[in-house]
Symmetry: C2
């Protein structure tokens, strides 16, 4: 049983431009290393309340039930499904990538009946298909879709999809893992009933927490469940005793909250509030446009149409003849730069470049374009030296002009 | 939606002597603040492998399937039940406190049939009652019990209970949340099939991770499940694709691992390995004996019989006439000392003093006894000044003599 003698682990520095985790600012790393408090300490409880308020700001909601689930985004997803689906209920899932597929798994494991609306990977969810499916299945109770598909970089029109669902009397479950903090997201205005996200994308925390928010209608359905949720850990009727549903009742022990991780999420949201949500969205777009100019200069083509492209997740086709695994290894080993591989049908066909949260910076755009030029050139491609970065700089310069003019 | 402007959260320092989290050493806090790596980075994967080895050391097992679940102890618990119980199966749960009760909840939500063996809170599980229940229910498939009841501080005889279960052809699920690293625990020697723990007790990490280990027999049962586990997130048949079951297959993405929290767990296990497991157990006993002498000198009586008392969790009856809530508030506000309240039937009747992991130190023993003397004296109790600490020091001195003599 004796392990070979292990030593302290010192991770190398990386530039994180994959699909998450993103670069974590030192303020957040400092926050998570502060002294651990008891999970029932009144000082910690005050921090929890502030954290809920900050998440309401990020989600654009007044929902009382807004808090971070003590687990990664997949636990946030499962928390939504496990609480909102009663066995035998019909749920329409719009699938246009990996995470829609995971939603189907969740529906089925909760004893729900999944009706799948399919769109091609890399396309946005088609609202007309959803409307047709709702007409064909008038007994549908819930509509679930991914606003920002991390597997492809496609952005779907959450506002329209929620409108259609509401018109048919359905509640909505929305995956905002990659959108929260990076793209417009208006939980109340759009009428989203249950939403989950992750800490490690545009919020730039380490992974491990999943912010969620539930509308009053969703909470009412959960409170009226005829049968307990199948998960004890995720049962909101229990979890809310600890996080509080807004009623001011005293906190009761449910599970031990991940104190230090929560310090980090708090700090990342303080940073977001300092910048301002709209400015953070604009920054993600600005860096995306510059990066895009550089990628196109390198001859790379985007997977997703311009109209549905997520600024924070850039999927491009891999040029023919490139050994993509070897190239990613070189980027990681020699440039300390992580980029994302393709998933599912797009494995080996696309790369995914994240410009999320703290990774959405001019430094990263320039660094990555330079690194790509270097590895492509080393691989025999004929490229004009410095042209990709120059293309990006042109966009930045034009943006600066526009800002001065406006 | 605008939150009032929030600022960086600076938690105060506390001395953590409740039922967990325990004091986190600065080496662990430093570790979790190191640069975030991608969860598929090969350097991170090497750390994961080392972490599995370190957990095998702590659990005293050669089980291939030994890893930390990405969630608090309650997720570790649910992972065991969700994977091992097939709907309709009979499970004997021995309940002698809060966490046995939670096991029953888990069994029922998984569609199992719970047969409950009851022992009074504060008592160890009675092996004879388990043997009788197994005779009365020969179709039982699983026996579940808590080795170290955090709600009372009672230690049950895991070795004997597992022997009885095995004799009746049952698999065992054991809660070792409070025992791992603090009390003898021999997963292989005792034939435990599934075990879960927490990071924030005797391992002295921040809360949020749950080490688990599964025997080959447990893994075989999980792989042969006729029906998928009801939880997608906790489904070991999927999770193991990422953490690896020991077969050397390439890692596949399941969920995004909580990278920085895992750095912390790794470091806490490196510290445990440096000290040596047996020496850590002995340290927990040594500090408990000194603390006990001090508590008894203050006139406090233990809830649990000496034979079944956990050294890392000391439950004592609250003296009559003491406003226990006010006293805990004074300890927290004026002495920065957290101690634990009673749970369930013992709410308002006992306090729980944790001496877990890094909190099991002479400094904490002395500091806590002094603080108790101060608040008791302020409350009007007549105590000989310094006597409690002196009683503890006498024990330490006697222990030192014994060590020199041996």
């Amino acid at each position: 049983m004796t392990a070979s003698i292990a030593k302290t682990f010192y991770p190398p520095h990386r530039v994180l431009m994959g699909p998450g985790p993103s670069d974590v600012p030192s303020r957040v790393l400092d926050a998570i290393s502060r002294p651990t408090l008891g999970h029932l300490d009144p000082v910690f409880a005050d921090m929890m309340e502030e954290l809920k308020g900050l998440l309401r700001y990020a989600f654009n909601t007044r929902n009382a039930v807004t808090f971070p689930v003590s687990g990664p985004g997949s636990v946030g997803m499962e928390t939504c499904f496990v609480n909102l689906i009663n066995p035998g209920e019909k749920v329409i899932v719009c699938r246009n990538g990996v995470f829609g597929g995971r939603m189907i798994e969740n529906v089925e494991r909760c004893g729900g009946i999944a009706v799948v609306v399919e769109d091609a990977w890399g396309k946005a969810v088609d609202p007309n298909k959803l409307a047709d499916a709702l007409k064909a299945h008038p007994d549908t109770r819930i509509v679930a879709f991914v606003q920002a598909e991390t597997s492809t970089g496609a952005l779907s029109d959450a506002k329209t999809l929620c409108e259609i669902a509401r018109r048919h009397g359905c509640l909505t479950i929305v995956d905002a893992v990659t959108s929260l903090g990076g793209s417009p997201l208006m939980v109340d205005e759009w009428g989203i009933d249950a939403i989950y996200s992750g800490s490690q994308k545009c919020l730039s925390c380490p992974p491990g927490l999943s912010p969620v928010s539930f509308s009053d209608a969703a909470v009412a359905k959960i409170k009226a469940r005829p049968k307990k949720a199948q998960s004890w850990f995720m049962d909101l009727n229990l979890v809310l005793g600890y996080w509080g549903g807004g009623g001011g009742a005293p906190r009761t022990y449910h599970h031990t909250a991940p104190t230090n991780s929560l310090y980090g999420l708090h700090e990342s949201l303080v940073i977001l509030q300092e910048e301002g949500l709209e400015k953070a969205w604009a920054r993600h777009t600005r860096n995306h446009l510059a990066f895009r100019a550089g990628l196109e200069n390198l001859g790379l083509n985007f997977l997703v149409d311009e109209a549905h492209r997520l600024p924070q997740l850039n999927s491009v086709f891999i040029p023919q003849g490139v050994d993509e695994k070897a190239l990613r290894k070189t980027l990681l080993d020699e440039h300390r730069l992580e980029i994302g591989a393709g998933l599912g049908d797009f494995a080996g066909k696309v790369w995914r470049f994240g410009l999320m949260g703290h990774s959405s910076r001019i430094e990263n755009v320039v660094y990555c374009l330079n690194a790509l030029e270097a590895v492509f050139t080393a691989g025999g491609m004929k490229l004009e030296r410095g042209a990709a970065v120059a293309a990006a700089h042109q966009i930045y310069a034009a943006q600066a002009q526009t800002e001065i003019a406006s």
